[in-house]
């Protein structure tokens, strides 16, 4: 655990920096609110409607593809470390694994999920 002490110190410093700078800004800045200043800022355009609208389902499908290949990528890290000791066998096992998941990528390609509609 001793190796993480520097991480903890770094974390404390990050949080402290955010809190201190926000607090100092709050004390020092002038406060003169008016209507235009309090409006929601959307790149200079007039905001209309609500932010909570229903999004197209394509967002979910892209997230789905992302997470499945995220899970694939996770296995590559211990595989690389074990590769030297195990040799060809590990390569074959990973190629089979990738080929099976590659079928999923092929299915998504055939279903035209990779193009944004």
């Amino acid at each position: 655990m001793g190796g993480y002490l520097s991480v903890v110190i770094y974390l404390v410093m990050i949080v402290a920096f955010a809190i201190v700078s926000l607090a100092v800004a709050r004390v020092l800045r002038p406060r003169r609110p008016f209507a235009a200043k309090l409006q929601t800022y959307e790149c200079g355009a007039e905001p209309f409607g609500q932010a909570w609208v229903q999004f197209p389902v394509g967002f979910y499908l892209v997230a789905l593809l992302f997470i499945v290949f995220d899970a694939l990528a996770v296995f590559l890290f211990p595989w690389v470390l074990a590769l030297r000791g195990l040799g060809m066998w590990a390569v074959v096992a990973m190629v089979v694994f990738l080929a099976i998941l590659g079928l999923g990528w092929f299915y998504a390609f055939r279903e035209r999920l990779l193009e944004w509609q």
Partner: protein, 99 residues
């Protein structure tokens, strides 16, 4: 800290997740409870692996995390399908199979 401390923590988180599964009306809320329960099981597996000096429990955790991903993906796809068909994600309204 001994093994017992980790097991107690996992048991508490498991029961909080169970409470969520039983009391939530929203289907996505129920899924969040299931995620908490699976998460506490992972804590148990890693704790047992570390205190018995056997890496097998950690390998199992790796597998369960990936299976949870698959479970969440299919579960949420079902929620989206239910919403499209029934216009609701409230579990109480999904009683078509009730006798």
């Amino acid at each position: 800290m001994g093994l017992q401390a980790y097991l107690t923590l996992a048991a508490v988180v498991f029961c909080i997740g169970l409470f969520g599964v039983m009391t939530r009306r929203n289907t996505i809320g129920i899924l969040l409870g299931i995620e908490l329960m699976l998460n506490s099981v992972n804590i148990n597996l890693v704790a047992f692996a570390r205190y018995s000096g056997d890496v097998t429990g950690m390998v199992f955790t790796l597998f369960t995390i990936c299976i949870t991903v698959a479970e969440a993906a299919v579960g949420l796809a079902l929620v989206i399908l239910l919403f499209r068909v029934r216009r609701t994600v409230t579990a109480d309204h999904l009683d078509l199979l009730k006798g």
